[in-house]
């Protein structure tokens, strides 16, 4: 399994190369660069413009610029922001805590709600309770994040004292509304996944064996059935968690949340190429690692998958 993990980490290299080139290329195609943006703010002479392009390294073809960026990257240098002049890595790491808090809070909230809800719906399949909870989750899925965020601010934050409308400075209280905003969509998807995965498992013969042993129904469901239904659930939950760790742009914007999502968007808007490329590389690495952890979790949950990793390992050896 260690071999498998190492292999997966090595596989991230071509992904990073691809992603970074793509971003470089797209940003090159996009009209305007940072100098144009500066021009809009202050009048510059032709010489000054050329001078700036030179210092920002904006001259030369996209390939040579990409190449020199990657040479620095391999040496551990993600570059410095053209706007703030600070190292990209520092800016990213500075925004990471807020993003991690939001991602963890929202995934926690949605797991605590969606799994019991999905299990319950599966057990009551076809009844009013099942239909009601699935309609509810469909609603959760269809509500746009930014709208929900704004509504929460208007309805809750402006009426309940102690709950801030935005920012990351008031501890637990400040994360509540953003977590609900991000978590609603997650909860809806996860509840539906849990329900369908549980439905598959509930008809399996081995649950009858567990019942015939005399286990309580709740134990049959929450221990013996759920464990078998977990794979699709953690796949979805892990994927969503990874994406949120990459930054929840809309929610961050609505709540002025100092996360990495806004950092990336701002960088793109101001044509801050090293910042945008660096952040997206870091984002891909984060997502790649989370997905890898989820894959390794499969093996912990399901011994048959573990056996497959083992086999692959033996073949390689």
């Amino acid at each position: 399994m260690l071999r498998y993990a190492i292999k997966r980490i090595l596989l991230m290299i071509p992904v990073i190369i691809g992603v970074s080139f793509l971003i470089f290329f797209i940003m090159d195609l996009a009209p305007g660069d940072i100098v144009d943006i500066k021009l809009a703010e202050e009048a510059l002479t032709f010489e000054e413009i050329e001078q700036l392009r030179e210092t920002y390294g904006l001259n030369g073809s996209v390939f040579t610029r990409y190449f020199s960026y990657m040479v620095n990257f391999v040496q551990g240098d993600l570059g410095t922001s053209l706007v703030s002049g600070r190292p990209v890595l520092d800016s990213y790491l500075e925004k990471m805590p807020a993003t991690i808090v939001l991602a963890c809070a929202s995934i926690f909230v949605s797991i605590m709600i969606s799994i019991p809800l999905g299990v319950y719906a599966a057990m009551k399949r076809g009844t009013f309770a099942d239909n009601a909870s699935m309609v509810l989750s469909f609603l959760g899925l269809s509500i746009p994040n930014f709208w929900l965020g704004l509504m929460l601010i208007i309805v809750v934050a402006l009426n309940v004292p102690g709950i801030p409308t935005g920012g990351f400075s008031k501890g637990i209280a400040s994360v509540i509304l953003p977590a609900i905003t991000v978590g609603t969509g997650l909860t809806a998807t996860l509840a539906r996944t849990t329900r369908s995965s549980m439905l598959d498992v509930l008809s399996q013969d081995y649950l009858r064996t567990e019942r015939a042993k005399g286990h309580k129904e709740i134990k049959v469901i929450m221990k013996y059935a759920l464990r078998n239904a977990l794979i699709p659930i953690i796949t979805i939950a892990g994927g969503q968690f990874a994406v949120t760790l990459g930054g929840a742009v809309l929610t961050e914007t609505v709540f002025s949340w100092p996360g990495v999502g806004r950092l990336i968007v701002d960088a793109v808007n101001s044509r801050d190429v090293p910042m945008a490329v660096g952040c997206i590389i870091l984002k891909s690495i984060t997502i790649g690692i989370v997905v890898l952890i989820v894959d390794l979790l499969y093996a912990v949950i399901d011994p048959r998958i573990k056996a497959q990793y083992g086999k692959r390992k033996r073949k390689q050896a």
Partner: protein, 337 residues
Amino acid sequence: MEDKKALGEPVLVVEDLQVRFELEAETVSAVNGISFTLKKGHTLGFVGETGAGKTTTALSLLRLVPHPGKVESKKIEVCGQEVSTMTTQQLEKYRGNDIAMIFQDPMTSLNPVFTVGQQIADTILLHQEVSSSEAKKKAEEMLELVGIPASREGEYPHQFSGGMKQRVVIAIALACNPEVLIADEPTTALDVTIQAQVLSMMKKLRDERQMAMIMITHDLGIIADVCDEVAVMYAGRIVETGTLVEVFNRTKHPYTEGLFNSLPNILNRSARLKPIPGLMPDPSNLPAGCSFAPRCKYAKDECFSAQPIVHQFSDTHTVACSAYARSGFAIDRPQKK
């Protein structure tokens, strides 16, 4: 040692058991008024074609008939307790402890994400006052008992062959020493040599533990091998029941005769097999008269219109067939002593 057969007291009494599956489009009458008794240390065999209602009967004894099954009965008494009125708590104590079932398909009866040791130990933990390390030790003993090295306790079902899985299923069923053991075609999924091994192991365990056993199968050879009494099932009813000798040597019901005729004859290999023509009636649309009538070569008009008359040939031998109301009626199969 006392003669167990003479001393056997009933541990299981079933009267007028009926099970219907009420589906949207139709009602499947899977079991239609079955009564039987099982004594301590005895083995009762249930034979019959696929769909006869054998598994459903067994599941009713554990109250595990799946939705939308409706179970009705005058009496289902196991070890002196009425099953149909048990509370959930009583039921949880009863299942696995007083009665256990070996399920039809070992391939799907084990939980894929728990070790076989865990699956045996959790029954023991549930019903006995033991610590988890003691339960694990007992689980290992159970594995040894069914012929699997205790060292494989930590392995998962997918690491076992079909025969070994069946042994694990048996070990789970036997873990708490149940009074009644139901074995639902415990060997159909296995190849012939393994079949014989598993059967002889089950017989040994049954005799050692003086268990009452219900053996469900469509294999008359297995019935002859392990059973004391036989109940022949057809379309949710018991059409003939008696001791092994009565049913095998003094066969009375035309359906039982048909089952024997469809077996290869070891003494006369050139004799052609005579499978029963036709199919069992659809349990959602059973005929008004004898359900075997469309396939029965002895059928007369009255067979189609009225339920068969029950004839008692001895204290133990009962047959549901109207033909015996006709004087001098006998089936073709020769009667032996």
